[in-house]
Symmetry: C2
Subunit: 430 residues, 2 copies
């Protein structure tokens, strides 16, 4: 697939994806029965091959970067795209760490013996063929290939066109290394045609078992709207930190500042601060000082704005849009709420179901918040930044699901598996 000439017509894309999907299904049959030892050895072989190909990967990446600069790519995007020997080494190290993780395939989820003597067990099996649609960062190409291999899935990758040369070299290296390990090269394929390839991939029912889009909200929505194969939606995090009436002041400041400023460009960063009115006068000045010292621009509702005004903190009145916005930047909406119910209602209205934080010393308030807020992760007295596969101890992450079906929150190897029921008997009939 990696050398197919791009002919952006629908029929070509469909036949390209059908070929890729058919080859992936065959590869998946083999992957499904590999032992953990086979897969771990292959992961180390992939790591060795990538390391040995560092110069070629960096050269291809320089070509992508040059094309990006010519077309006026923003500095931030150029940085996400850039691979130097140090970054290649980090990607390689991540593959080796993957080899050290437990293999979810074959795990018994539950089991029982029925009254008629039938023995029942539900075991984890690979999904089969997984499509992954993503944007700039070429490290996702290696991560996805590695997670796919470890979980026994054949991966059809569709990276961003900005990283086309880098991805083509990386996937070529991975495929060659797989073949040398006796594993079908088609376990990892790259689709590098136009947008028609994406459309063909997300409608390839019977060939593709799951598609995971990862990137901008626009990309994710386009995939969700157009797909007929099952999708796991990742993504948008309009995360709130709610400072309750019974909050510890120091904890509130530390958690709000960390949630907002530790890495503002990622989905688990906080975008909105809610403060109980009984504590607003006492806590907002300190929060404002800490946040503005860190460079955060505040978009305040009326009551939060009044306190900012009295304290001499610069602020902009928030619009309705502000509360629904994932800034991914050093900006924060701030509102004073009447009580816990109002905070939960506000989060229900504007939240994206990603991560919601309460800061409180009040046990009843914490229990109410945890029970009633509908999100992938609900945190009490902890930064929103902990919503992460690495932090949760998964060892690797393919994305953070904000949907409720199959996987919710950080997705690791286990979330890339399905299950199969095995029934064993001695001739039982009904």
């Amino acid at each position: 697939m990696t050398n197919t000439i791009d002919q952006p017509t629908r029929a070509d894309a469909t036949s390209r994806v059908e070929r890729a999907g058919g080859a992936a299904r065959v590869a998946a049959q083999r992957l499904a029965v590999l032992t953990r030892a086979d897969k771990d050895a292959a992961l180390h072989a992939l790591a060795d091959a990538l390391l040995a190909a560092t110069d070629r990967i960096v050269a291809a990446n320089e070509a992508d970067l040059a094309r990006g600069r010519e077309s006026g790519m923003a500095e931030g995007l150029q940085d996400r795209l850039r691979l130097d020997p140090e970054r290649v080494a980090a990607i390689v190290e991540a593959l080796r760490q993957l080899a050290g993780l437990p293999d979810p395939v074959g795990d018994i989820v539950r089991g029982s013996t029925l009254a008629n003597g039938l023995q029942l067990r539900q075991i984890r099996v690979p999904m089969g063929v997984v499509g992954m649609i993503y944007e700039a960062r070429p490290n996702v190409t290696v991560d996805a290939a590695g997670l796919g291999l470890k979980s026994g899935n054949a991966m059809i990758l569709r990276g961003g066109s900005a990283a086309a040369d880098t991805n083509r070299v990386i996937v070529g290296v991975l495929r060659e290394a797989l073949a040398q390990q006796g594993i079908p090269a088609d376990a990892v394929q790259l689709l590098d045609g136009g947008h028609e390839d994406v459309n063909a991939l997300i409608t390839a029912r019977g060939l593709v078992d799951l598609v995971i889009p990862r990137g901008s909200d626009r990309l994710i929505q386009a995939v969700v709207q157009g797909a007929t194969v099952p999708v796991i939606e990742t993504g948008v995090g309009n995360c709130h930190v709610y400072v309750d009436a019974a909050a510890d002041l120091d904890q509130a400041v530390a958690i709000a500042v960390n949630s907002k400023t530790h890495r503002p460009s990622v989905c688990n960063a906080a975008e909105s601060l809610l403060v109980h009115r009984d504590i607003a006068d006492a806590v907002l000045p300190a929060l404002y000082d800490a946040l503005t010292s860190a460079g955060v621009v505040l978009h305040t509702d009326q009551r939060a704005g009044e306190i900012a005004g009295r304290h001499g903190t610069p602020y902009t009145p928030a619009t309705e849009d502000d509360f629904g916005t994932e800034y991914l930047d050093l900006q924060l909406s701030v509102a004073v709420v009447d009580d816990l119910d109002a905070a939960i209602a506000h989060i229900g209205r504007y939240g994206s179901g990603h991560t919601e934080v309460i800061v409180t010393a009040d046990r009843a308030a914490a229990r109410q918040f945890v029970a009633r807020v509908d999100a992938a992760v609900v945190a009490v007295n902890a930064s929103s930044r902990f919503t992460d596969g690495g932090e949760f101890g998964f060892g690797a992450e393919i994305g953070i699901s904000t949907q409720k079906l199959h996987a919710r929150g950080p997705m690791g190897l286990q979330e890339l598996t399905s299950t199969k029921w095995v029934v064993e008997g001695d001739g039982q009939v009904r």
Copy 2:
């Protein structure tokens, strides 16, 4: 919703579904925090109310049946539609049994304490709002409402137009009984507009968390193709019984006959018989005798046909289509295969991923079959008819999933839940 006049335009349907979805979301917030005791008491109240309304339900059902007869509805469909006092009592009893089942909501799936002291737990929570699209049988209306209530989900039901009067009376009774229990009536709603309602329901992103279609392949495919909300595909079962070279003859006959004839109209009935060539001459005559005695019509490949011919068994040569057909009737395709690999390849080509059976005394063959056949249920020496939520001990079933995402195989209460991560700390930041 139950009294809305049907105006089959897209805009009307969209606003109808938006109203229903909004009301369902509000109801779902309340359902999510009900205790098991509350929900079980409500289930018994629903059962009492339905029993007391038996006459009205049966009268409405007679109106549906009369309309069906006038429009030439087949006898079999009329039987599926029919409710008499005995059937109402059975439906009511199923609700009471649901009250006796454990509540999945609040179960801790996994948990840990991280190095930084954060306590992590993944708990089961309701999905939220679940849409259910189904066909003739009005007992599904009550089952779905009961499963929804027990799992804390608000249900938007879209039954078949053939059962419109019956469903309208049933849902009216359920809503009134819910309200009397202090539970929002909008926890159970019925959409009874035209097909535009279905389209609006399956594209109501943000209002509906999950849609489950249950019925004909045509219905399920239409939902899967048109949906933008997550779907669990239920359904088609092109199930095989493979009689291995090392099969016990009596077991092979008992399992093949039971799998095919115990209830031919359901998805876990066998549709195809594969026999290893080494045992074909020895086993097929007995299989043919038993199957034809039970009224089964045989569609044979060349080798299976030759044996039938020599034995004097009537047969029809199978076409390529026969092997891909879910007959749901006393018909069976039969093929002789060269070996286990050929059986697995045949199932991979024609199977629908529902239930696949091997009959064998050979441990290695059983292990290969279990490992390599890609289906929701793989059975060794047992009838395909055991793929059933009741048989598996789930106590109730909302359908049998043939997809790999979220739920695979029989779906009970647990499969109607999502999860939420709860993170508890003492001010931890990154």
